[in-house]
C-alpha cells in the first residue's frame, strides 16, 4: 500500500504540474504564468499548454509556470472560471472549437468575453482519398459529387457539425455545390476514420494535414487538396483547395492562448512579447519537433480579426447546414 501511496503522490505531482522555476538570466519577460487547461490530462489542449510552458520556462522567458486542468462543458467551465476570477497571470489554452462551440451555444460566452493573446500553432485541413481509389484528383471528386452527392461518403474524426464536417462542407460549398448534401460519416477519432477510408467503406476523408502527409509519404493515401492559401513546403506537389476547384477555401485549425477580460495593455504586451521571442529559442524548437507542431503565429489584434472572420464564415456555413 505504501508503494501505491508514493506512486500516487508522484503521479499527482506530475499531473498537477510541478512549478518549474528557471534561473532569471536577464531576458525574462513575464514573472509567472498560470496555464488554465479546459480539458483533462493528456489531451491536445493539455499538451499545448504544458509544451508551451516548458519552452517558455526553460528558455528563461518566463520565471515560472503552473498548470490547472479544468474540464467540463466542452471547455465552458474554464471560460466561466477565467471570466469570474479575472486573474491577470492566467493564460487559457484553446483552439478552433471555442468558435464552433460558442456558435452552437454549448456555452454562452465567446472569445469576445476574453482577451485574445495569440494563435501559436495550428494545422490545415486536407481532403484525402485511398491510393487505389479511382478518384485521382479534386476535379474528379467534384465532378462525381456534382452528378450524385450520395455516392461520395466523406468521413472525419469529429461529430456531425464538428470541425471535419465543416471542412468538407466548406470545400464543397466554395466549389459551387450544395453543402447540405455532403454525406458526412462521423468516426470517434482520426485514426479510426483513416481505417474506414482504407477499408473502402468511405470514398474520401477530411482530416488534419499533419496526419494525412505521413500516410501519403507511406504511399497509402492521396491528398487531393489542402485548405491553406498557398502550397505548403512539406508537400509542394499538393494543390491548395483554392486552386483545385474550390476557390476561396481557407481553413486553419489553430491553437492559441487567451487571458482574462479587461487585461491591462502592458501585461498583454508582455504576454505577446514572451510568445514571440519563444519561437527563436532552441527549447521551443525541441518541443515543437517532439510534438510535430506547425507554427502559425498570429498575435494581438490580428488574432482578434482572424477570429472574427472565422466566426463569421463558420457561422454562415453552420446556418446553411442547419446546425444553428
Amino acid at each position: 500500500m505504501f508503494k501505491k501511496l508514493t506512486a500516487a503522490v508522484a503521479a499527482s505531482s506530475l499531473m498537477l504540474g510541478a512549478a518549474s522555476v528557471a534561473l532569471a538570466d536577464g531576458h525574462k519577460v513575464v514573472d509567472e504564468i498560470k496555464f488554465l487547461i479546459p480539458g483533462g490530462a493528456g489531451g491536445g489542449w493539455d499538451g499545448t499548454a504544458r509544451g508551451t510552458g516548458e519552452a517558455l520556462t526553460k528558455s528563461g522567458l518566463v520565471g515560472g509556470a503552473t498548470y490547472e486542468n479544468m474540464s467540463g462543458g466542452g471547455g465552458g467551465k474554464a471560460i466561466a472560471h477565467i471570466i469570474e476570477t479575472k486573474d491577470q497571470d492566467t493564460l487559457m489554452v484553446n483552439s478552433t472549437p471555442i468558435v464552433i462551440r460558442s456558435l452552437q451555444g454549448v456555452f454562452p460566452q465567446s472569445f469576445r468575453d476574453l482577451t485574445p493573446i495569440a494563435g501559436t500553432i495550428g494545422d490545415y485541413g486536407a481532403m484525402v482519398v485511398h491510393k487505389g481509389s479511382d478518384i485521382g484528383d479534386m476535379q474528379t471528386l467534384l465532378a462525381n459529387y456534382a452528378s450524385d452527392p450520395s455516392s461520395i461518403a466523406i468521413g472525419g474524426g469529429s461529430v456531425a457539425g464538428g470541425m471535419d464536417h465543416l471542412i468538407a462542407a466548406l470545400v464543397m460549398k466554395n466549389a459551387g455545390a450544395n453543402p447540405i448534401e455532403v454525406k458526412y460519416i462521423p468516426y470517434d477519432a482520426g485514426g479510426k476514420a483513416m481505417a474506414g477510408l482504407l477499408s473502402g467503406e468511405i470514398a474520401a476523408l477530411t482530416t488534419g494535414f499533419g496526419e494525412a502527409i505521413e500516410l501519403a509519404r507511406q504511399g497509402e493515401v492521396n491528398i487531393l487538396c489542402v485548405t491553406s492559401t498557398e502550397r505548403l513546403s512539406a508537400a509542394p506537389d499538393t494543390p491548395t483547395c483554392d486552386e483545385a476547384g474550390s476557390p476561396g477555401t481557407s481553413f486553419v485549425n489553430w491553437r492559441g492562448f487567451f487571458a482574462a477580460p479587461g487585461l491591462d495593455d502592458a501585461k498583454k504586451a508582455q504576454f505577446v512579447e514572451a510568445l514571440e521571442k519563444m519561437y527563436d529559442t532552441p527549447e521551443w524548437a525541441a518541443v515543437r519537433d517532439r510534438m510535430g507542431w506547425v507554427e502559425i503565429y498570429n498575435p494581438g489584434d490580428d488574432f482578434v480579426k482572424f477570429l472574427e472572420g472565422q466566426e463569421e464564415e463558420i457561422g454562415a456555413l453552420m446556418r446553411e447546414l442547419g446546425f444553428l
Binding site: 500516487a8 493528456g42 466542452g74 452552437q104
Partner: protein, 511 residues
C-alpha cells in the same frame, strides 16, 4: 526474418536498454495499480522521458511501461474490485471473488501467467502474420463492427445463467441507456443531459465502474458487517493470502483456455475498431459456454477459467493492436495513438515501409514485447505475496483507502468536482440494486458496448442511405450475427427441447 530477430535481440538485450525494460515494468505496474491511471496515461507520462532517449530505448521503455500498466490494472481489479480500464473489467468478474475467498495470491499468479502467455503468443502471431493480418484489419466495415458488438453483448448470458435471467437483461438495458447520455455523434444533438454542461460528454466509463464496483463494494462492506464466524473464516483464509500455489489440475484447465483466448484476443485486437475490451468479454463469454454446465456455473464465483480467459485475451489483443499501427500507421486504440505520436516524434512513420526502411525499429519493438513480458513475470512473481497482503489490512483502514483511491482516481482524470457528486449518486444507486440482488456486471457490459454498437450502426446506416439491407447482404455481418443468435438462443432452447423430448417419449410410452 531470422536476421531481423537477431537485429532486434541485439538491440533489446543491450544492457543499457535492459535497464529501461526493468524500470519501465516497475513504473508501469505501480502506475497501472492506481484506479484511473491505465496504460494510456502511463505511456503519456513517459513521453517526455522517452523523448530524450534514442528511438530503440524509448520504444522499449514505453512498451515495458505498457505491459506493466496492464498487469497493474489487473491487480486492482482482483484485489479491490476496481478495474481502472475497460479491458480489465472482465478480470474482476472472477478475480475478485477468488481474492475474497482468501486466494488473492493464487488469483494474481493466474493473472500473471495468463497475461504472460497472452502477450508472448500474441507477439509470435505478430511476428509471423503481421503483413497478412493488416489486410484482415481492413476487411471490417462499420456493419461488421456492429455485428461484433452484438456478439459481445451475448456474453451477458454468462451472468444470466447464475440466477435471474430477467434481472441480468434489465441491467444490460440500463447500461445501454446510460451509454446514450451526452452529445450524439451522428447528429450533434444533446441527449438526456438535463441541460447540464457537465453531462455534454456523457458519463465516463471510469466514473461509472469505480462508483458501481469499487465504491459500492466498500459501502456494502460497511452496511453488512461480517459476523464472527465469517471473520474467523477470513482470518484463516488470510494466512494463505500470499500463497501462489496452482494445482496441477488447474494448470490442465488453464492451458486450453489460454490457447483459445490468446488467438481470439489477438485477432480481435488487430481490428482497429474493436480492441482489448471486446476481446476480454468475448473470451469470457466463450469460455463460460465451453466450460459446460458444471464448470460454467462457477463463472462469477471465482472460476480459474473465468479469470484466465479475459486476462489472456486482453494482453493478446493489446499486442494485436500493434498490427495496424506498425503495418498501416493506423492507431486502433488510445494507447497506440500515443505510441504513434511518440514514434513520429523520433522521425519514424509506421506504415507498410517501416519494415523495409527501419528494420531495427520494427524488430526491436517485437523483441522488446517478449522481453517486456518475461521481465514482467520475473519481477512480479516474487512480489505477489506482498501485493496480496494488501487484503490483510484491517477493513477499518482498507475501506477508507479504497474510497480515497477511487474518488481521487476519477477526479485526477477530469479535475471536475461534478464527477465526484455523480459518482456518489451512482454508488448509492448501485448499493440499492445490490441489496435487491440485481447483478451490476451486465450493466457495465451494456454501457461499454452500447456506445460502440450505436456509433457503428448509425455509421452503417448513413453509408447505406438509411437502408438496413447490409444486415443480410454483407456476408461477414450476417455470419457474425448468426453466431450471436446461435450462442444466445441455443442454450436457452436446449432445456425446452429436452423437456419436449422427454414429454414426447413419455407420451409415446403411454400410447
Amino acid at each position: 526474418m531470422l536476421e531481423g530477430i537477431l537485429i532486434g535481440l541485439g538491440t533489446a538485450l543491450n544492457p543499457y536498454n535492459l535497464v529501461f525494460v526493468v524500470v519501465g515494468c516497475f513504473v508501469g505496474t505501480f502506475i497501472g495499480m492506481l484506479p484511473g491511471l491505465g496504460p494510456m496515461s502511463a505511456i503519456a507520462l513517459m513521453i517526455p522521458i522517452a523523448a530524450g532517449l534514442d528511438p530503440a530505448a524509448g520504444i522499449i521503455l514505453m512498451a515495458a511501461v505498457y505491459y506493466g500498466a496492464i498487469f497493474g490494472g489487473s491487480t486492482s481489479s482482483i484485489l479491490i474490485n476496481a478495474p481502472g480500464v475497460a479491458s480489465t473489467v472482465a478480470t474482476s468478474f472472477d478475480g475478485y471473488p477468488m481474492a475474497k475467498q482468501g486466494k488473492a495470491g493464487k488469483a494474481l499468479a493466474i493473472a500473471a501467467y495468463s497475461s504472460f502467455s497472452g502477450g508472448v503468443i500474441g507477439a509470435i502471431l505478430l511476428l509471423i502474420a503481421a503483413p497478412f493480418l493488416a489486410q484482415v484489419s481492413l476487411a471490417f466495415h462499420s456493419t461488421d463492427y456492429f455485428a461484433l458488438m452484438v456478439l459481445g453483448l451475448t456474453a451477458v448470458a454468462a451472468f444470466a445463467g447464475q440466477g435471474n435471467v430477467l434481472k441480468a437483461m434489465l441491467m444490460t438495458v440500463v447500461g445501454l441507456m446510460l451509454s446514450t447520455v451526452g452529445t450524439d455523434q451522428t447528429q450533434g444533438v444533446q441527449r438526456f443531459t438535463l441541460g447540464m454542461i457537465d453531462l455534454l460528454d456523457g458519463v465516463s466509463f471510469l466514473l461509472l465502474v469505480m462508483a458501481t464496483f469499487a465504491l459500492s463494494e466498500a459501502l456494502m462492506a460497511i452496511l453488512k458487517p461480517k459476523g464472527d464466524a465469517d471473520r474467523l473464516k477470513e482470518k484463516e483464509a488470510s494466512s494463505n493470502l500470499g500463497s501462489m500455489k496452482i494445482e496441477k489440475e488447474e494448470v490442465k484447465e488453464m492451458a486450453p483456455v489460454i490457447g483459445r483466448s490468446s488467438i481470439m484476443g489477438f485477432i480481435i485486437g488487430v481490428l482497429p475498431g474493436a480492441g482489448a475490451t471486446i476481446a476480454s468479454f468475448l473470451a469470457y463469454g466463450t469460455e463460460q459456454r465451453l466450460a459446460g454446465p458444471e464448470k460454467g456455473k462457477l463463472f462469477g464465483k471465482g472460476s480459474v477459467r473465468g479469470l484466465s480467459a479475459p486476462e489472456t485475451a486482453n494482453n493478446a489483443a493489446a499486442t494485436g493492436s500493434f498490427v495496424p499501427l506498425l503495418t498501416l500507421g493506423i492507431p486502433g486504440s488510445g494507447t497506440t495513438a500515443i505510441m504513434l505520436g511518440a514514434l513520429i516524434g523520433y522521425g519514424i512513420q509506421p506504415g507498410p515501409r517501416l519494415y523495409l526502411d527501419q528494420p531495427a525499429v520494427f524488430w526491436s519493438v517485437i523483441v522488446s514485447m517478449w522481453i517486456g513480458n518475461i521481465v514482467l513475470l520475473v519481477l512480479n512473481l516474487p512480489l505477489i505475496p506482498y501485493i496480496a497482503k494488501i487484503l490483510a489490512i484491517p477493513s477499518r483502514f482498507l475501506l477508507p483507502l479504497i474510497l480515497f483511491f477511487s474518488l481521487i482516481g476519477v477526479y485526477f482524470v477530469s479535475f471536475n468536482t461534478f464527477d465526484i457528486q455523480l459518482m456518489i449518486i451512482f454508488a448509492v444507486a448501485a448499493v440499492a440494486l445490490r441489496l435487491l440482488d440485481f447483478p451490476l456486471a451486465p450493466m457495465i457490459l451494456g454501457f461499454i458496448l452500447g456506445g460502440m454498437m450505436e456509433d457503428n450502426l448509425r455509421r452503417a446506416l448513413l453509408i447505406n442511405d438509411n437502408s438496413w439491407s447490409f444486415l443480410w447482404e454483407r456476408e461477414l455481418t450476417l455470419t457474425i450475427l448468426a453466431i450471436a443468435a446461435l450462442t444466445l438462443f441455443v442454450p436457452m432452447l436446449l432445456p425446452l427441447y429436452q423437456r419436449w423430448r422427454k414429454n414426447a417419449d413419455r407420451a409415446g410410452e403411454g400410447g
